[in-house]
Point group: C2
Chain length 305, copies 2
């Protein structure tokens, strides 16, 4: 297993950690039911550049709404969506990570209302239809082929060692669920993500435009506890929004083994090379001894082909 | 299995339903991953009379707070707590189910602030300490011995048939988790319940006095979807707060098999005899063909002794 990982510090850290927590007679043994591993999704399990995959799904819907309702055409983010201008969206998110929430609020309102009034099953059908043929804008592959092969191997390796994996993402819970079973072998009940409030109406659950959770930063550990009632022993992320999830994993009292991993995107040839949005996380990794995974050096393949 | 169930319509309904959904070649087959069963807790898995078990835990804490802070002594619910007057609390809940929320709001404020400022681990320790020796006021047994033996058998029977069971209770999520593993064999990640908001602080999760979820009525199906991303095929409850959870289980489109059960407390000799708070649910059961489980007639034993 872990065939798509090059020999090196990151692979060794994983194998060593799993060996220690599964060694029944060793000092670091962790019983199977407490072997909880948590994974960010965008930039950790699948590609997040040049834009979040969910943003493509959203922009298509906003353009559809702008085409159907003339009053939206001159307003952001519908203006940018109708023009196919993804940079406005990327800038809004970059501003957010730098502390300026002006555009993200406009975007959030549109995100929240984009799919309101559907049953959760109807929403899932839209997601499934999107992933059936939507392709990455520069990598020339289906989005469903944009998962990182070494990370999917890691999920399997952990399962084989009786871990339970959870995805803990700022992305939409109900956007990920229909596709991650096929891409990663992760069941819907193992997906924690952002969500809108739902209304129960005549036997069915309907989407609303009310925010429920924005599953990012300090909310990630809150949601992990809410879902599992446990503190993870392994966490993997790639950006500033993952810092608290990794801190939570590491800060157990009394202390017990943990593995905190940060994927570093440094491979412009095979994927992307960027640190924007990950600066603080990389500083924290250095300070706290987290394992930094270099895409360029640690992964023998990125997408398995 | 199901040895503590008397032969009769309820037991037959369970055995027939499980047989149908597990018959690989039959028309009602449901794959294992979709065999989700949801159970209310108070009055469905454990005894809820003469008062909710969590109310005892709360009243002890309110009395402690009243003793420590004189300014609380003359105010409800501290006044009732210090006097050991449980009827005020029971009345507040009964009023709530009859549409009068005046007292429940006062109670909710006290509930929310009673345990604020603890780490989730400290809170769990308080719960564990409470259950170590707290006894039921009239049944002469530990609260941990107040689970219904036939329902625990049903949980095991469903697990043996590859169901995944969830508790979906208006009771506190983090009040149930430390004790239900031992009582029912249900893991913390299978517990859905009411909760306060948590704050992430220096690596740890701290309780607050902010409400997060009141997991009752229409919120139950919302939380089931949020947790599992699936619609259950079996649901069991006992009160008006379970109606929507059972409706949700039954209303699948396209239709597929479901079993909706309502425990009817009609056994004053072995447990309690009451319908207060369950009137609408019993009406709905009759109208929708739900399986009513009579404690008196369907259970050979209530507590297994």
């Amino acid at each position: 297993m872990l065939k798509s990982w090059n020999d090196g510090a990151a692979k060794s850290a994983i194998v060593d950690f799993v060996g220690r927590v599964t060694a029944q007679d060793g000092p670091d043994f962790v019983p199977a039911e407490a072997r909880i591993a948590v994974f960010d999704n965008d930039g950790t399990l699948w590609c997040e550049k040049p834009a979040y995959i969910q943003l493509d799904f959203l922009v298509r819907r906003l353009a559809e709404q702008a085409a159907a309702d003339g009053s939206l055409k001159d307003k952001q983010p519908y203006l940018a969506a109708a023009a196919g201008d993804l940079s406005w969206f990327g800038d809004a998110i970059a501003k957010h990570y730098n502390g300026d929430d002006s555009d993200i609020k406009i975007l959030a309102g549109a995100v929240l209302s984009a799919f309101q009034g559907l049953t959760v099953e109807q929403h899932a059908q839209r997601v499934t239809a999107f992933f059936a043929d939507a392709t990455h804008p520069t990598l020339n592959r289906l989005y469903t082929a944009c998962g990182y092969t070494p990370m999917v191997e890691l999920l399997r390796y952990l399962e084989a060692n009786a871990f339970t994996n959870y995805i803990v993402s700022g992305g939409g819970r109900d956007f990920m669920r229909p596709v991650v079973a096929g891409m990663y072998g992760v069941a819907p009940e193992q997906v924690i993500g952002s969500s809108v409030g739902l209304d129960f109406n005549d036997g069915h659950l309907m989407t609303t435009s009310r925010p429920e959770f924005l599953d990012d930063g300090p909310i990630k550990p809150v949601r992990i506890w809410g879902r599992t009632g446990r503190r993870p022993i392994l966490a993997a992320g790639n950006s500033n929004g993952d810092i608290q999830m990794l801190q939570y994993t590491q800060a157990s009292e009394p202390p017990r083994p943990s593995l905190c991993m940060l994927v570093r995107h440094d491979d412009a040839d095979r994927e992307f090379d960027y640190v924007a949005g990950a600066e603080k996380a990389l500083d924290e990794a250095a300070a706290k001894g987290w394992t930094v995974v270099s895409v360029r050096n640690d992964w023998a393949t990125v997408f398995g082909d």
